[in-house]
């Protein structure tokens, strides 16, 4: 945990340096206390003073530096069936049913597509850090025929993501990344915990059962799970071993 905070701090400091030359840098969102944290199934995200929103076809950019007058600065057509948007370090990761798209926020008012990883039709939320993007593909009659599982992409060359590894999982949906741990909601199969210190070789740690898990937010020492029957909170002071704290029933 401390290592993670230290790393975030370093990244943040670096990004401040890098951004100091731009007028209004979109810093590291996870270190930005002015915004909160969304689940991986979200279609809205705020980075710096910009709101990025996707609907089924478009990515909209709104300058919200003046909250009483949000101004649209960009509209990008992406493709059909946009599912999710996830920000990390001046990049947006957009999951669609046919691929993962990476947009650069070097110019935050007008995101530019820099990379993409195509895949078979499926539903696919994504989380990422500087070097790796984790995508869950859910193949079924509604989403498409792809083989369900965790797909690990090396994004060090953001222009050309390389598929490093796939881990077959039955019903993966939302996922959350904190430090070296990846939490994957697998519907009725439970919440699966993986150690991804070596991202090319995710190591299965354990499964938390007792719910239909949809989405998850690692939030400091807390793991917030959206399950079909409500919201379940776990303590992840030990990230490898989430401990049930509270279930809030629907």
């Amino acid at each position: 945990m401390n290592v993670f905070i230290k790393r975030i701090f370093i990244v943040f400091t670096l990004s401040v340096f890098i951004n100091s030359c731009t007028k209004d840098g979109a810093g590291n969102t996870s270190a930005d206390a002015s915004t909160g944290k969304a689940g991986s199934l979200s279609k809205f995200t705020i980075v710096g003073s910009f709101l990025y929103a996707v609907d089924n076809h478009y990515l909209y950019t709104y300058d919200i530096s003046n909250a009483s007058n949000p101004v649209r600065t960009n509209t990008s057509e992406i493709n059909f069936d946009i599912e999710t948007i996830y920000p990390f370090n001046n990049r947006l990761f957009i999951g669609t049913r046919t691929g993962l798209y990476i947009y650069s926020l070097e110019s935050p008012s007008s995101p530019v597509k820099v990379g993409e990883a195509q895949h078979a039709r499926s539903c696919d939320p994504v989380v990422a850090n500087d070097t790796i993007a984790f995508v869950t593909l859910k193949g079924n009659s509604f989403c498409g025929p792809a083989e369900s599982g965790l797909y690990v992409h090396d994004i060090r060359n953001v222009f050309q993501p390389v598929l490093l590894r796939t881990v077959s999982l039955a019903n993966p949906e939302g996922l959350g990344l904190q430090g070296h741990y990846l939490y994957i909601c697998c519907n009725n199969d439970g919440l699966m915990v993986f150690n991804v210190a070596d991202p090319a070789n995710p190591v299965f740690v354990k499964t938390i059962t007792g719910g239909y898990f949809k989405d998850v937010i690692p939030y400091g020492n807390q793991l917030i799970c959206y399950v079909s029957t409500g919201i379940t909170l776990y303590d992840i002071s030990n990230p490898a071993d989430p401990v049930l704290v509270k279930h809030i029933s629907n």
Binding site: G36, S42, L51, S68, D215, Y219, L233
Partner: protein
Amino acid sequence: MRICIVIFILFSFSSCWTKVKPVTPGIDYKRVWGNKPVYDAAANAKLISYSSAPMPVSNPGNIYAKGNFLYQLEIGKGIHVIDNSIPAQAARIGFITVNGSSQISIRNNLLYTNSYDDLLVIDITDLNNISEVKRVSGAFPEGRYNYYFIEPVESGYYECPRYDSVVIGWVKDSIWSSCYKN
């Protein structure tokens, strides 16, 4: 204002229109038992409010965490607010009504959400006195035709909804077989 009244009167008569058989060349609509849209004038449906009584969750959506609070979408209707300051006692404490919503993001004390095709900025500094800071009309054009209540939940025949007002629910009635959901 006068226009609003005229529109309102038109809406109140709109339920009579369904008795008129829709005309589409080549299709003979039948009178069937199915789902009929319940409409509201957009201006009315777009009013926001906060209730400090927790609402049961029936159609949950995205989750969001900020500070000591969690938020969860009630798709199409609004946002549940959860006090998480003591996690072991975390509980729903209220509900922000935002019809036509499905997304959430927060910066400082401003909550950004969608309401049908609008982008909405809500000041949540004091939950009991929330205020609409800004509504950007038509920010998300798809939202006019694509929101949760645009279709009934169950499959079968339903009356195709109009787009000149918004659908806030569905009721069973005798309808023309104009739309079908698999």
